[in-house]
């Protein structure tokens, strides 16, 4: 086929495409289209404020915040569903330090945590940007559920709740907090440290811990045995029965040593002795670390048992910018 005829066919001026291009066109015609949504059921993404008024207000706020140097650090918020609302120091679809994001029961939002990752906020949630320490990026989840995906060095991304503080160590996790303070922290990948009144819980991927108004439960594996999970849940309760610990120890398997390790600083006296003994039965604890040092909660001894569980160097769970090793 002459070049001019081919160009005319490609341009759409008439004539058939040459054979090879016709075959390509035919092949690509078989590319499936996604199924058409039911448009009557779709909630369009709208801005909640008329554009002109919003633009005027945003311009004024930007001018003000620019003087304060906050505009540069405002994080972008994307609407995933419904109409999330921004409050406080928020403008133009971004939240600065002091700003808030709220989702109603039909809204979802995604917050870009500049340089660190992103957070998705489920319906019925309130999230605030609060000051962090040094290079730390810190949020406060008043209530609701967020999913965090972080690809930053450890301990730069922190989420406060009324119960305690979740510190990212390079991971993805889901944090839920009800208005009464009950909730759950579940880690999908990487690991998170949750701190409550100086007590740290190291939560690896595949594990979760409950949050209660008066504290945080010990981490347990997502797929631990039913009997063990029931025993740990019973132990979590403030009004636990006298034999609650025995049932936890009796139903624990080797892979539950991570849970038992977290029990060590949460019990005392003979209970701590029984927990340590059970860990010793389940895994190969290091021979050069005496039981007495573990019972005294000596950090180096606890770290050695943590490594023996297979959770790596405990210093990687604690160390980070501006962090001290917390006493047990």
């Amino acid at each position: 086929m002459a070049e001019r005829e081919e160009d005319a066919a490609l341009w759409g001026e008439g004539g058939a495409l040459p054979g090879d291009l016709a075959r390509i066109e035919h092949a690509l015609a078989r590319l499936p289209l996604p199924p058409e949504p039911d448009w009557t059921a779709v909630a369009p993404r709208r801005r909640g404020v008329p554009v002109l008024a919003y633009a005027a207000a945003a311009a004024l706020l930007v001018a003000t915040l620019a003087g304060l140097g906050l505009a540069r650090d405002a994080w972008r918020v994307d609407t995933l569903a419904g109409s999330p609302s921004l409050g406080g120091l928020a403008f133009g679809g971004r939240v600065a330090l002091g700003g808030t994001i709220a989702t109603d029961r039909r809204s979802r939002a995604r917050l870009e945590v500049r340089g660190l990752g992103e957070v998705e906020l489920e319906p019925g949630s309130v999230l605030r940007r609060v000051p962090g320490r040094g290079r730390e990026r810190r949020l406060a989840l008043d209530h609701g559920t967020l999913h965090a995906r972080v690809f930053a060095p450890p301990r730069l991304f922190v989420v406060e709740t009324r119960v305690g503080v979740a510190t990212d160590l390079g991971c993805a996790y889901t944090l839920s907090v009800a208005p009464d303070g009950e909730g759950r922290l579940a880690v999908t990948s990487g690991r998170v440290t949750f701190t409550h009144h100086g007590l740290e819980s190291f939560v690896p991927a595949g594990a979760w811990c409950p949050l209660m108004p008066d504290g945080v439960g010990v981490p347990r594996r997502e797929y631990a045995g039913d009997a063990f999970l029931a025993a740990v849940a019973a132990w979590d309760r403030a009004d636990r029965e006298a034999d609650a610990l025995e049932r936890v120890l009796a139903t624990a398997e080797a892979s539950d040593a991570i849970t038992l390790w977290h029990l060590l600083p949460r019990v005392s006296g003979t209970e701590r002795e029984r927990v340590a003994a059970r860990i010793d039965e389940l895994i190969d604890v290091p021979a050069d670390v005496s039981r007495e040092r573990v019972l005294e909660l000596e950090p180096a001894a606890l770290d050695a048992w943590w490594a023996a569980i297979g959770m790596g160097d405990a210093s990687e769970w604690r160390a980070g910018p501006g962090r001290k090793v917390l006493p047990w």
Partner: protein, 176 residues
């Protein structure tokens, strides 16, 4: 009033049926733009996403006759957003579905192979060729949707086809 502008006006007034017709008219346009930039398995969600975004932003469209170029802009931004979040680490090549890998015995080329070859080209040629072969747009229609001059579209088609042929020939593809 041309049919398309009437549809856009009706969709703006909340007529979901009219919006559905706009979807059916322009889904391939959006698919072409998205496929030029993201993996196939992400493209399906993004196509729907673009239209949902467009539905919510119809109020900002100043000229109903410019619906298609406006939609194309949303698609490009959405795809760029997706790539930025994926940190450009996700390759365009990915496992194909069975249907896409299927080769027409009479014509000797599967959809995935054709798509892979086009997506290996520079972006300017990639989108133009996809708009031509997937969305079935003519040269003038591509110019309108992309904002390119007619001359630029002609060059992209001509050079893009030349590179595509060379790519397929090196892989043992169909000859003209």
């Amino acid at each position: 009033m041309p049919v398309e502008t009437a549809l856009v006006a009706a969709a703006r007034r909340g007529d979901r049926g009219a919006f559905g017709e706009l979807y059916r008219r322009h889904a391939r346009l959006v698919q072409s733009i998205v496929l030029a930039r993201v993996p196939v398995d992400a493209a399906a969600d993004l196509v729907q996403d673009v239209f949902v975004m467009a539905m919510g932003r119809l109020g900002s469209l100043r000229d109903d006759a410019a619906f298609a170029p406006w939609l194309a802009t949303i698609a490009r931004r959405r795809a760029a957003d997706w790539r930025r979040r994926a940190h450009d680490t996700v390759p365009l090549e990915e496992a194909s579905t069975e249907a896409m890998a299927e080769v027409d015995p009479a014509r000797g080329l599967g959809a995935q192979a054709a798509l892979d070859a086009i997506r290996s080209l520079p972006e300017a040629y990639r989108e133009t060729l996809l708009l031509r072969f997937v969305a079935g747009l003519t040269g003038p229609e591509i110019a309108t949707r992309t904002g390119l001059t007619h001359g630029s579209v002609r060059v992209n088609l001509h050079r893009g086809v030349a590179m595509l042929r060379a790519r397929l020939a090196s892989e043992g593809g169909p000859n003209g």
